[in-house]
Structure formats: structure tokens, C-alpha cells
Amino acid sequence: MKRAMKRTDFLEHVGWTGLGLAYTIGASGLVTAPASAADTLTFVQISDSHIGFHQAPNTNPESTLKMAVDAINALPVQPKFVIHTGDVTHLSKPAQYDSAKQILGTLRAPLMVIPGEHDVIGDDGLKTYFQNFARKDAPGGWYSFDLGGAHYVAIVNVFNFEKMGLIGKEQLDWVRKDLAAQKSSTPIIVFGHVPLYTVYQPWGWLTEDGAQVISMLQRFDNVTVLNGHIHQILEHTEGKVQFRTAAGTAYPQPAPGMAAAPGPVADLPPDKLLSTLAYRQITIDGGKIALSDKMLG
């Protein structure tokens, strides 16, 4: 998306690009700088709110989601959008969607959502997800858009009946076409719920056909994949692709393989809960992408 560049932005821009600045002639005939180099944009990622969960270590995930929303609303510069990367609800129930939307509806910034497996349990869950978060441009649930000189791809990897995560052929074909239209120099941000790479196979923390997308992403200079699902912050790199899993707003899960099973860390001391929950601020400045995880306590 192109937007008018303010004079101050322009001066800063010239400051760090020197003579490398390329100009284009816009449709209006006016000389404009490329939007990709001019914009500084922030957005926020939140994940794994599990509204309806009511066990240790968080018997009130509504309150911790509200804390995250209030903190985001208090940011001096509002994000261009907030994306929830799935598991908004715990059991896909209409009442859980209602509670979640009541809290998320107070966000000052526009909300985007992709589903987690807890949001689409059975045919009813899938229907309820689309009733609440359908987008006109996303009949299959997945979508892409451009903003601030970057290209964003929101992938759904929780729709298969027997496998999880799985992207599936129809969506893979769509991703291939979508990415083919992008320049290698365009920063690419990919959203997903389940990690696209194999975090820990015995706990199913992987996307079975994720390698196909990772391979499509390798020709780009700057790629960041943001996901949730495992309720903890992890960093990983494969070639040029940076992976960053996010903390949730409900409860932490054990580090990969460090417990008998995944699931909520039930014996977490109550005063430690907020230090495991976060929202994440992402800044895109020209081609540079910076992430900052803001713990709730």
C-alpha cells in the first residue's frame, strides 16, 4: 500500500539510504519515492488466548487477554493492525467466541485472525469460526495483503481432519502463485498457527507439508514467519527464513520434550504466570524487521 510520505520521513529516509534512493513516476505524473523504503510500520501479534479454559495455571484467560488488549491500546503509536495467530477459544464454542470478541472488540487497531485447531473443533467449530472471523477475500480461510512495503501471507494449517499441522494442496498452490507475484527484495511476513518447521515431532509441533512453503520462501531476501501454538517464544532460522514462535495470552507449555506431555504448565507458581504471557510488537522499517516481545508481567 502506498501512502503519502511526510517530509520528516523523507529526510530520515535520505539519511540512511544515501544516493541509493530510486524514484518512480506515479500515475499522477508526480515523482514519488518507493513506498517500501519510505514507510515505518508497526503491527502487533497476539496468540493462544484459549478463552473458555479454566484450569491451572490460569483460571481466567479472559482477564489476561484483556490485559494484553489494554496494553496494546495504551501504545503511544497505535499498530496498523493486530493479528491473532489462533486458538482464540479453547473449545470452539459460540459463548467462548462471544467472550473473546467482546474483549478483542475493544482494540483500537483493526483485528485480523487466523484459526488454531482449538477454534475449529469438528464441523460445528469450523462453522462457528467462519461465522465470527470470515473475510470476504478469504473464502478458504487463508489470505494475503500488502502494507508498508511488505507482503503478508496468512496461512491456515489446522483444517485437515486427521493431520495437524497440514496446509494442503489447494492452499499450497495458492501460496505458490501469491509468492510468485512478489519481488525477491520485498520483505515477506508469514503468519501461521502451528509452526511451519519441525519444533518437536513427538508432540506434533510441526507442519507436515511446511517444508514446501519454506522452500518457496528461500528466494526472498527477508522473510519472517510468525506463529503460535506452542505457547512460548522460540527463534529458529532455515536459510534466509527466520521463524519466531510467540508466547500466548493464556498459559505456557513446557519447552519441547522437557515434560512427559505438552499442555498447560499446571504447577507454575501463580506469581510467575504473567511473565510467561506476552504480546509482540513488530516494526518494519524499510527492509528491516524488528520484533519485541512484551511480557504481561
Binding site: 482449538h118 486427521e162 495437524m164
Partner: protein
């Protein structure tokens, strides 16, 4: 609301009462225990979620589906025909089990 109320009553009082479960399968530490069970045709199996995370009981052949089961929630299914019935948890598909009906 009278129609909805009537529907709820109808659901709560099925024509054929569900028999007392012959076997109880626990969902504990992200596994079905026992993973393989044997019952006779006409017998019921009950699944109980002992974990703090949610689980489901989903037939691989889509013959039965518990929906999401919260902590301590249970689901019962009556197996009327002989055969081997594979199932899994849709939230954690590596959790697998089999009901063998004689």
C-alpha cells in the same frame, strides 16, 4: 424458546437408553489408556478426559465424534456392529486408539 426446550428434552431422554459402559478409556498425559480395548456388540465405551488440555474422540472413518472434551468431561458411544474401529484426537492426532468389537 419452547421449541428449543422441547429439543433439549428430546436429546436428554433418548428412546434407547445408553447402556452402562463396559469399558472406560482415559485420556491422560496426551494418550488414550488403554489404547486398544475389546468389547462385545451392543456394549458402550466411555472416554474421560483426565488432562488439563482439551481432547476429542474422532473415528477415523467418521462413524463417531465426541466434539471438544474439556477437563473431566466424558463421551459415550455404543458399538452396535462387530469390527475394528480406529480413532484419534483431532487436537492431537498422534493420540490414537482402537476399539475391537466382537
Amino acid at each position: 424458546m419452547p421449541f428449543l426446550f422441547a429439543a433439549l428434552i428430546a436429546q436428554a431422554s433418548p428412546a434407547t437408553p445408553i447402556p452402562k459402559p463396559a469399558v472406560v478409556v482415559h485420556m491422560k498425559n496426551f494418550a488414550f489408556a488403554p489404547a486398544t480395548i475389546h468389547v462385545k456388540a451392543g456394549q458402550a465405551v466411555e472416554w474421560v478426559n483426565d488432562d488439563t488440555d482439551a481432547h476429542t474422540v474422532d473415528s477415523t472413518d467418521k462413524l463417531f465424534d465426541s466434539g471438544g472434551l474439556d477437563t473431566h468431561e466424558q463421551y459415550t458411544h455404543v458399538f452396535s456392529k462387530a469390527g475394528s474401529f480406529a480413532y484419534f484426537c483431532a487436537l492431537h492426532p498422534y493420540m490414537k486408539g482402537t476399539v475391537i468389537v466382537q
